[in-house]
Symmetry: D2
Subunit: 356 residues, 4 copies
């Protein structure tokens, strides 16, 4: 921590800052510059609140040197974290693909999708039973019934299940049905919920909020890790910017940057990231080329009739084609995707342009 | 709702869209343009999901015409909503000021602040007992003990209490102590919480999220209104942008725009909005000049020792001076602030510049 | 400047950094912390390029302490700069109002507007002769003919003229007709143009770019000041954010913050800032309450037929009403607007709501 | 164009809108809905200014249906534009790589870099002779001398030259030395400059501004195309957002979206896009996987001593390694990069993490 004094700060003001640093259990190192004085603070500064100094007379501002997250940082854990869910490893050499509809809408819709994504090589089935919706008048999800349908799909097709949990009290119930608990972008700073998933033995997929900096994403991961649950995946799914041709701005840069800052696996969700099915294949390939450990892709047997997020869902046939593309890109960056069938299908029709 | 077809869409594709509009219970009006066809949809379109059309062949995009909120809209309720809490009216001619510390830190800190803000003319005391914090290692609030201290201050000074509630299960407890329930910016899309406060008989102060559009703020208000609680105040508290000289970008434009779109009272929080105590007086005056119905201001007897948000808190003496400034501006725009004492104090020291 | 070393940096790497600081003519002060070492650099660091250190082995990042602008800073010039244009002073106690159409469209349109804004109390006439337009197919301004019409209005009504200059080669011509040269938001980093206006003896109104931080605005002012022209006004006119109910997000916080950081006058342009005529009166009043030294307001005799920016223009009658409101707010913050006529007109019709 | 009337608009107001649509040479189609009326405008609406209707009584807002660019649109030109510069084709199956230092700093620096990037397989040499810099105190480029050095490198190594031009008057001089004229991000709306490069016979690389939407980028391209120069490349180089771990947010989504909207080649610049050399290889690979037609990469023989943009420059050895990675990814998406030497070098040291 560096405390920058004002250009006209007095010796008494500097002395008071020095004294308070010492009170806080750290060592002050004043440096007397040409224009101004700064006081460098040495010690375990992560535990010292900046606010202690911010309104002291003569203080201009505070600069922090250490990142505020610790358990999530690569410095604390240099090796990649690999999360194992029975046969699937997330964060290792193998690429993992999570696919399925935005919402569970019916038994037939989910089972048809589950069958298709399994055939195409996905290992994990996604599908929302509880849906956070901007409008109180929109479809809010099937709830417990949706969880039961997901469980049936797991049995039938040997897929693992990732699904969202929205409230602390629902965590035990959802954990009974899901292999991975998803924290949605709108709940990235719902601290009651982060506490709750920090205390269960289920891997967590933590989605970056549309307004969250990478640092805040890592701080929210820190909440879960500090609660005792070390199996956390970070998921990039688009941030909010001024650009309007995509629903969000899928910030793929987060993949290499988060991999440097943290040991946790990084999953990319180009479906929510771009909000346009016609940009999903390109950005899914790009995510693998950038080093993502996995993908989350929305697939729907009939996107035009989907109750949510139809515009960003792929049809099963296009998803299968995408899996073959991803496999090739994965190999070009020395990763594998062993579950994709080798056989090439008949020619795929061209993707038609969409103007969003 | 306007469905824009692609330039090369076929008659069959247009026909399918027309049929689906009819299925959805609305009337289709196709318009055949030079470059392309659009299908206008007439009827109660708020209940029709755009997703029904978005991936139909030949459809390029959908444009909605009606705002998605209804109960919150001024069209549905042309007169201003005035919320009465015993002697205080929010949303009428009178300006209301809510002041106090970010967090309740101790009995003496809160009572000292409560006394000071009451003396200066505030009618409502703010103070957090439950604190959402980015870091799991930061002070998380005093909890129930904090609520009890707030209740004591209400008794002693005749102030009403506004305090944050963070989880659905805490709503009944907080509602027992607070006159106004605050929903914090991070919980603007915590729908479980919005449902819960929609079912209690306590006014709600709903803070705009740092990534929320005004439309989303109104949609979240709609959740509470749709739950049956009509006493909702909207609060502008800063959005996230690229600018770094202020902690957030306090979007004061929301005041006139929300007042036009909605009948609900609008409160401005320049303390969180700017994150700089030295910009608070200017922006508080500006908020009143722009038509805000009230202010929320952070006041702390010793900001340099505050456990949270010290940099944006005013000292009691500066707050008293600000109240006198606000009273003058209120009168210049034909509003009143009857509780501010008339007497002018001795000269105030100049505010010193801060470089954030 | 603070050079932050990596946690695993070696003594040799630290030594190399220290040596290079000395080569650059400054004094290095290494501080050996618990987790890492930082090297504080003392001296005239504004002249030292961060890039000298940024890729040295063992260096993690660089933090700068001093603001990068100097001539524009209040530290270098504690008193407010007051710019005098014959009878008008900008930056003193008096509020100055610049009003007129976005574009000069015809002699009659401009003279009618000039007459109206003069009557209402404006001292400076705005009007674009050269227009930067996003589309090559839009009206690009009347050019020299527009300048001649502006000059005629000056003669007829005793108004001073502010108008935009878009290219370095046009500076002498525009300076011949204009009392104030405007640099538009799109040209905030057109350095050839900043150089050119730095070398003429005409005050400059420098508009913040829609993507410019306040620091960058001050750096662009620094270009003009460094060129020898000290008569620069800063103008806030809205930044680009995710919010779509206003055309831009008018960042009124810039008024108090720029006034603290710099001695230069600050003008607010709520017409471009909000892009909605129905938000202009509220935000104009707010700007004065926040401490702006002046306003720039778009006025058009027939906004519905304006060739540019009609949606944000006020009609003359509404502008006159606004001037009376501004005068009252100015007095409430101890500023004056002596040119506004005292007489109150007949009742103004209510502003109708607009949904943008 | 759709004109949305207010809910309480009168028949006379609707009639006036209909009449004005007819005056403007288009056909009005009123649709009388449950809540409100809309008037659809049919005809060549790209030439009709929205402003004609925006302040008419009873009008709430205007929605445009057609994209505002025409020459740049894929609708007007379905096939990909391929730009040929002697032996190099940009926009076809082959990937093109432009590499070199941010600035030309000296003859030896440039020639050393040119040699290295040629050896590694780049076909085009980048290097700035005129530099737009935020600070007037920073290095502004070598000017004409820099152009001469670039020309020498072209002769020596058979590379084509891309370099920035900053002012209209410099266009002929720079066009004499450069094979491709670069318009920098800060000049994306410098319309004088866009006009000037629209009238020369040199391909143009147009960089997206850090605040530019994709639509605005295409509108700026439209200026050049409308001037008669059809050889325009679009370049994504990062936009400004709230995220601070990268210098800009490299918006790779622009690659698939621009390729759908336009026939022009799309180049990706991950060096400026991310501002971190340690994220450049990942994002360069990603760009190719996403469908970019080429890359612009900063390479410097000694980034730690670069006069500008050192932190985002690769060393020659890392660049060579990157070229081999890119070649593999290109093949995985059925593109080629025929100039990269086949031989694999000795093992590369691991990239060290950077915390920005």
């Amino acid at each position: 921590m560096i405390i920058v004094m004002k250009t006209n700060s007095t010796a008494a003001e500097i002395g008071a800052v020095i004294a308070r640093v010492q009170e806080a259990g750290a060592s002050p190192h004043p440096i007397y510059g040409v224009e101004r004085t700064v006081v460098a603070v040495v010690g375990e500064t992560r535990a010292i609140d900046r606010a202690l100094f911010m309104q002291m007379p003569g203080v201009e501002r505070i600069t922090t040197i250490s990142a505020p997250f610790k358990l999530a940082s690569r410095e604390s854990h240099p090796d990649d974290t690999v999360i194992r869910i029975n046969g699937v490893s997330i964060g290792g050499e193998e690429i993992v693909v999570m696919a399925g509809p935005c919402s569970v809408e019916s038994r037939s819709q989910l089972l048809e999708t589950a069958h298709a994504v399994k055939e195409a090589g996905a290992q994990i089935l996604r599908g929302g039973a509880f849906k956070p919706r901007t409008s109180p008048y929109s479809f809010q999800g099937m709830g417990l019934k949706g969880l039961e349908i997901l469980a049936e799909a797991r049995e039938l097709y040997g897929l693992y299940i990732v699904t969202e949990v929205m409230t602390p009290e629902a965590v035990p119930m959802v954990a009974e049905y899901a292999d991975i608990l998803q924290i949605g972008a709108r709940n990235i700073q719902n601290y009651g919920l982060l506490h709750a998933v920090g205390r269960v033995q289920r891997p967590v997929l933590l989605k970056r909020g549309m307004m969250s900096s990478m640092e805040e994403l890592l701080m929210s991961a820190e909440y879960i890790l500090a609660g005792g649950n070390y199996r956390v995946m970070l998921c990039e799914r688009g941030i909010r910017t001024f650009e309007k041709y995509t629903r969000n701005t899928f910030d793929l840069n987060a993949v290499p940057v988060l991999k440097q800052l943290s040991h946790l696996p990084v999953i990319a969700d180009p479906s929510h990231g771009t909000g346009r099915w016609d940009a999903v294949p390109a950005m899914a390939r790009a995510a693998i080329a950038a080093g993502a450990d996995g993908l989350m892709i929305e697939v729907h047997p009939n996107p035009a009739k989907a109750l949510s997020d139809g515009p960003q869902s792929l049809k099963p046939k296009r998803f299968a084609e995408l899996m073959r593309q991803i496999k090739r890109v994965a190999e070009a960056v020395d990763r594998t995707l062993s579950t994709v069938p080798e056989s090439q299908p008949a020619a795929e029709p061209e993707l038609e342009p969409v103007f969003a």
